[in-house]
């Protein structure tokens, strides 16, 4: 029985690989907080990834809980931060953007976060003129 010709198999796999590279985005940061985002119905897609900056809010991940406790934390880039540090973060994020007016801040916060943290962040965002925000959520029917 003749063996099946597998010479085109790598090409096939490469095609799949390229497809995945196109449609997915690299995970930019390692998450240090865990969160379950709320579910909503009136959601919009975040299309231009290049103008989006993320702020994560939630309790530390299970590995870090022993050192950091279980209180709500704000994560900017790769580290924990205070609400007032958001201003520098916004400025740093703006540096690399060509169209700074379109900057969108996506807030990924845990459902159980107390509004105090969100209010503080929003107040700083207002002061730094980052007015377009997006409350990250999953779709619900």
């Amino acid at each position: 029985m003749p063996e099946m010709n597998t010479s085109s198999l790598p090409d096939l796999i490469f095609t799949i690989l390229f497809f995945f590279m196109m449609v997915t985005t690299m995970r930019e940061v390692t998450l240090k907080v865990k969160f379950t985002i709320p579910a909503g119905t009136e959601l919009e897609k975040l299309e231009k990834k290049s103008v989006v900056s993320f702020i994560y809010v939630g309790p530390p991940t299970d590995q870090l809980r022993a050192q950091m406790g279980s209180g709500t934390r704000i994560q900017l880039n790769d580290r924990y931060a205070e609400a007032r540090e958001v201003m520098d973060f916004i400025a740093a994020e703006r540096q690399g953007m060509t169209n700074q007016a379109e900057q969108i801040i996506s807030i990924k916060a845990d459902q159980r976060t107390q509004m105090g943290y969100i209010i503080d962040i929003k107040e700083v965002l207002r002061k730094s003129w980052a007015l377009r925000i997006n409350y990250s959520a999953s779709r619900r029917n």
Binding site: T6, S7, L9, P10, I13, F14, I16, L17, F20, M21, V23, T24, T25, M26, R27, P38, G40, T41, E42, L43, E44, K45, L46, V52, V57, I104, S106, I107, A109, D110, Q111, R112, T113, Q114, M115, G116, I118, I119, K122, L125, R126, K127, W129, A130, L131, R132, I133, N134, Y135, S136, A137, S138, R139
Partner: protein, 200 residues
């Protein structure tokens, strides 16, 4: 004397498939497929330091208070009613409030406004929905309120665009969208949170 030319052996490519499989798996693991979605909102401009305390005088009938206490319970208050409400009641209440179909004196005042493409309209564009939260309110409750408010406005805008242009709001041209937005502007105010809560 040389014999016939030796045939060059082809490179063994059987493992290329495995290598690319490894690459594929690596990408699958390190990337996230989910497209980010969320509720888009716009924050108000920062307060002007030169300006004196800009408390706007808003008629009481024009305000709908939406309050969330530290338990995430919803409290609705306007000229018609006040009291605790379920999250599912919020959307119809907001729609009724913003629309004021019968031009009632307890709902937002209507006045004539000239809008491009729509002509002279009776609109309630002076209405304000004031969302107030406690610092301890769970974020989920706040998010659901925002979601319901946006949903209410979206439904109103959809109804109007179907009636005026025969299409849903999202399929309208930009200038038509502008007209609809002028008819139903989103006036959501988020005041500084207070420690309120009366009976708690």
């Amino acid at each position: 004397m040389a014999k016939t030319k030796k045939k060059m052996p082809g490179l063994n490519t059987t493992s290329t498939a495995d290598i690319s499989f490894m690459l594929l798996i690596f990408f699958l693991v390190t990337t996230s497929m989910d497209t980010d979605m969320g509720l888009a909102r716009r924050l108000p401009k920062p307060p002007d330091p030169d300006q004196e305390d800009a408390t706007m005088d808003i008629k009481k009938r024009n305000i709908l208070y939406v309050r969330l206490n530290f338990n995430g319970q919803l409290w609705l208050e306007d000229e018609t009613t006040r009291g605790y409400a379920e999250m599912s009641e919020l959307r119809p209440r907001v729609k009724e409030f913003v629309k004021n179909e019968q031009n009632l004196s307890v709902l937002p005042e209507k006045h004539v406004k000239n809008i491009d493409l729509l002509g002279q309209c009776f609109v309630t564009d002076k209405h304000v929905i004031s969302v107030q939260t406690d610092r301890a309110t769970p974020y989920d409750a706040y998010f659901q309120v925002q979601n319901e408010l946006v949903a209410a406005y979206n439904e109103l805008r959809n109804e109007l665009s179907k009636q005026k242009f025969g299409r849903e709001f999202q399929y309208l041209k930009d200038e038509e969208k502008m007209a609809i937005k002028q008819y139903y502007p989103q006036n959501i105010s988020e005041a500084e949170p207070k420690k309120y809560g009366g009976d708690q």
